[in-house]
Amino acid sequence: MNRVLTIVIGALIMLAIATLVLVALPYRELQDESPPEQLKPYTIAQLRGRATYVSMGCVYCHSQQPRAATLGPDALRGWGRPSVSADYAYDYPHLLGVSRTGPDLFNIGARQPSVDWHLAHLYQPRSVTPGSVMPSYPFLFKVVAHPGPNDKVVTLPPQFAPAGGQVVATQEALDLVAYLTALNHTYPVPATESGVTK
């Protein structure tokens, strides 16, 4: 009997140590962190857009964690300064991402503030970025013959425009772009705030 107990207790102790080090201690260290002053909470529209970003699985190709110059030319590519943990104060679920099939998006709003560009890019990425392997998202748009006065018409190069109608953004597409253009963490942070930038 004591041998079974050896396994059970030993296995639980091992996992307890790991949970303490990898879950409990970081929780304690990070929980009191306050958001940077210049970081605004998301608006309702931006939160809806963020939910679309999550549900479409953008995170599987786009990271949101620019890194220090020692780790790569992120800053030179215009992806921004190395992020710090306080930058993510309003993020739930987190979207750090561990793949860069596409570029980092932590500061895409600063790099590409144009709503028209984002809408065209979502409708057909290759209309603005030749060679892109990003999927197109036609289901976030409608093709209508006569756009109404409140409709947001997407401007497309002629070879990408559908025959017999104009492309109009749905609310979901507009919200997603509201989120993307809000991704702007270019405000300065004290270098000591990050354990990484030191």
């Binding site: 396994i7 790991a18 990898l22 879950v23 929980q31 599987y60 987190h94 561990v98 060679g131 999927p135």
Partner: protein, 554 residues
């Protein structure tokens, strides 16, 4: 908190060393009472040197036995022992095998269905990376969702259910008693299936918790937690009725995995507690441990049993296997944050994970040396036993994938391959090359005992093996090279980002081709499996072997 940086690193090192000393102390005091007799607990008297392989025909079995006997010059067993089928201990084993039939069948059948569905989803996702306008009309099939459906189907559907099925089948044999509480496991299989199915539909419909490896919404995840807990019930009921003095190393792994997974899953899934970067840390602590503390134990438990059992030869060193077990528990559980190296994560935490990732060399070498020394000199047997062919390959790839993992955690190499497809290739080396290969081999051994029927078309087993191996070799080699080239392009500030996309394209196409072969292998496997279940095909002897002799059959 700056003080904690060095202090924690020192502490974790200290605990590691302390643990090692405690282990040595326990060994010398005989607290772990392990030795040759513990390694032989899976054999009956006179079974050493006797091969067991229910997956092949009588003539093949004879050839396998000769290959083993040739390698084992001192063996006087062989044919003289063939007449043992009337022995009560082998009849008892037949009773043990029958006691787990329903549970093993429920889990293994489900796992194979998920394997087929998961492979098809993976193929679609792979094709999308080179044809971005393929199947884009519906949100259900967008890359971010179909890729995630693939991951969840192969991890929670195929890998977890196959591991549980094989483990439930091994338990009565390892503990030499009937499986107690089988109906809990069958109910667990039902709940688990419901959880995976609902979870995959939710993901495709756009309802996700958004964390990698934890996408299945927590409301549905409750089904997985309950199903997993129910499947653990027979383990503890059967343990309490065991008829063995020694717990074989496989039992250690299975018991620990069944304890660990519910804790991991609940801690990671509890809603509205985790936040920001802390959530990312918990995310990768979990994702890494799904492989390390859930699937790897199942894979190693199977390898330790089936290699020894097919060859009729105890594992090389039982003590070494225990070192491997405790070192795995110690180091693997703390390595997860190497997925976030260089990110906005406390530096001390990254250091801990790098240290523990490198320390993983200890359990990996312990397992690698042990399993290699068991098979060494007997590679001829791989020709005749499909179980051995798959399992020995899987065990070898376990060593390879783990060494690769330690290397990837080292900062200079991590800098190059982080964020690239190299990581995808690595993940598949672990989950396919190591884990799935071992599961394939185990299923070929187990199913004839579960159904008490032979595999109808032995040639299909070979076809499955070569499709899987060739397909995976193409997959892994090309994607690894592509990933390195992608990393080189990304790190070069003078090259536009698009270079890192373009350089990958031919390698991604090769990956899709490898994936097609792998999927074809799975279809062959599934077809063969269901042909056997439905009792189609040529009846040869109509019997499945147990020990060295044909069983009564049905």
């Amino acid at each position: 908190m700056t003080l904690t940086v060095g202090a924690l690193l020192a502490l974790s090192f200290l605990i590691s060393v302390l643990g090692l000393f405690m282990f040595i102390w326990a060994q010398t005091r005989g607290l772990m009472r392990a030795g040759p007799e513990a390694a032989q607990v899976i054999f009956e008297t006179g079974e050493l040197g006797m091969v067991e392989e229910p997956g092949i025909s009588v003539t093949q079995r004879g050839a396998l036995q000769r290959a083993e006997s040739n390698a084992n010059a001192s063996a006087t067993h062989g044919d003289a022992q063939r007449a043992t089928h009337t022995r009560p201990d082998l009849q008892a084993r037949e009773v043990q095998d029958r006691s787990s039939r329903a549970a093993a069948f429920a889990f293994l059948t489900s796992s194979i269905l998920w394997l087929v569905l998961g492979s098809l989803a993976g193929l679609i996702a792979s094709q999308k990376l080179t044809s971005p306008d393929f199947l884009v009309q519906s949100a259900w099939l967008t890359f971010g969702r179909i890729r995630t459906a693939h991951l969840n189907m192969v991890i929670y559907g195929w890998a977890s259910m196959a591991g549980l099925g094989i483990s439930l089948w091994m338990l009565p044999r390892l503990l030499k008693t009937r499986l107690v509480g089988e109906r809990y496991a069958v109910a667990g299989a039902g709940l688990w299936n419901a959880g995976v199915a609902a979870g995959v539909v939710a993901i495709l419909a756009g309802w996700t918790d958004g964390l990698q490896w934890l996408e299945i919404p927590w409301q549905i995840g409750i089904l997985l937690a309950l199903g997993g807990a129910l499947s653990a019930v027979p383990l503890f009921l059967t343990l309490s009725r065991r008829n063995v003095d020694h717990l074989y190393v496989s039992v250690w792994y299975i018991a620990a995995a069944l304890l660990w997974f519910p804790i991991l899953y609940v801690v990671a899934k509890v809603p509205y507690v985790h936040f920001g970067v802390e959530q990312a840390i918990v995310n990768w602590w979990f994702a890494h441990n799904v492989l390390g503390l859930w699937l790897t134990p199942f894979g190693l438990a199977s390898a330790y049993y089936f290699i020894a059992k097919v060859l009729g030869r105890p594992i090389y060193s039982y003590n070494l296997s225990l070192v491997g077990f405790w070192a795995l528990a110690m180091f693997y559980s703390q390595a997860g944050i190497h997925h976030l190296l260089g990110g906005p994560v406390p530096a001390w935490l990254q250091s801990v994970s790098v240290v523990q990732s490198v320390m993983m060399l200890i359990p990996v070498l312990a397992v690698g040396v042990n399993q290699h020394m068991t098979v060494v000199g007997r590679f001829a047997t791989l020709r005749y036993s499909p179980t051995l062919r798959f399992v020995v390959l899987g065990a070898a790839l376990y060593t390879l994938v783990s060494l690769q993992g330690s290397l990837e955690a080292v900062p200079f190499f991590n800098r190059l391959v982080h964020f690239t497809q190299y990581k995808v290739a690595h993940a598949h080396l672990g989950l396919y090359g190591f884990y799935s290969m071992i599961m394939f081999g185990s299923i070929y051994f187990v199913m004839p005992r579960v159904l008490e029927r032979e595999w109808p078309y032995p040639k299909l087993i070979a076809l499955h093996f070569w499709l899987a191996v060739t397909g995976f070799a193409i997959y892994f080699v090309f994607l690894s090279i592509g990933g390195v080239l992608q990393g080189i392009a990304m790190l070069d500030a003078t090259r536009p980002f698009m270079d890192s996309v373009n350089v990958l394209t031919p390698y991604l196409k090769a990956r899709t081709f490898g994936g097609v072969l792998m999927t074809a292998g799975h279809l062959v496997f599934a077809w063969h499996f269901f042909a056997m279940v439905l009792d189609r095909g040529t009846i040869r002897s109509g019997q499945a072997f147990i020990g060295g002799a044909p069983s009564a059959g049905v």
